[in-house]
Symmetry: C2
Subunit: 190 residues, 2 copies
């Protein structure tokens, strides 16, 4: 039940609408918590009912009105409480890893293709995250920023995301190469 806390954590950066969160979840918080728009809207409603966030209607012209949310004091208190509860071990869930695990029993060609695709996605994501890091730290260099910046949480999680994507990229390419080599080996009658 940490989606609510992920939302609260994301809202520490300011005021956001459900729609903005749904977009932004792809780059920022989504490194460690993926959610669909429907979940976010529903969670925001629940959080508002419980007084952990507060929303205000923003009337817009030329486009639908929206509701901007921010964290309340009670919301910060809830985050505080959450931070002290023992963390559950993290886990990855990845279709592609399942396919690689099974690769000895099936045709490797589609797996190789998917590794390649995934590498491309990871590369693109890594680039986005790299740029986000630069934007977050602004003019300061990294060390300086980490020592004195006033909002380093997103920066730290972003670094983790970047390392993860780079690792994914490397692993996908190296794994695809291994599988490709084996196809050649088998064909040449090893």
């Amino acid at each position: 039940m940490a989606l609510r806390h992920a939302v609260l954590a994301a809202l520490l950066d300011g005021e956001f609408s459900g729609y903005q969160l749904a977009k932004g979840f792809d780059i920022g918080v989504a490194n460690f918590w993926h959610a669909l728009p429907q979940q976010l809207y529903a969670e925001l409603s629940r959080l508002e009912d419980e007084g952990l966030v507060a929303g205000r209607e923003v009337v817009q012209e030329g486009r639908p009105n929206k509701r901007m949310f921010h964290v309340t004091e009670a919301g910060v208190a809830e985050l505080e409480r959450f931070a002290t509860t023992p963390a559950k071990p993290s886990f990855i869930r990845d279709d592609l890893l399942v396919k690689v695990q099974a690769v000895d029993g099936v045709d490797p060609a589609p797996v190789i293709a998917q590794l390649q695709e995934r590498a491309a996605v990871a590369e693109a994501k890594a680039e986005v995250l790299g740029k986000l890091l630069v934007r977050l730290r602004g003019a300061a260099d990294e060390e300086e920023f980490l020592r004195t910046g006033r909002r380093i949480g997103p920066y730290l999680t972003c670094r983790r995301g970047l390392a993860f994507e780079r690792e994914t990229y490397d692993w996908c390419l190296r794994t695809a190469e291994v599988l490709r080599q084996r196809v050649v080996t088998v064909r040449s009658g090893e």
Copy 2:
């Protein structure tokens, strides 16, 4: 719905009981697909009903009987089909990352403590995975094994798991250090 495929992939290594899978899921397949025992038992039943795995009762003395499962031809075909479906993007889900994201708004002390704990867990897991790699490749060296071994799927996913745990370890320690430094900085009135 890839738990079923994770189970099928795990059973490619031989015959296992639900109980064994539940234990082993922690080290092997669990790198990319975590599941509770109840889920595994339920999934095995469903897979058996659908003819994708077959079980046989093994009568034991001094302990409860067990059911050993293996993948059927239909099961392999299902894996084959699965391997060709487009892979969904993977995602991490991590309580601890949420806490780090929120660390600017809350007391960092418990977060630092949890980062330390997590680093220890990751280190232990990395060691287990390292040993598993050695066991999987046996006498051969890595290159040799990857070229000619007949069951490399688990090896490849295990390498990914190892890289992930090492990355987690590094990130946790570096992040904890950053947060500790800041506490000092703030205390000294920066």
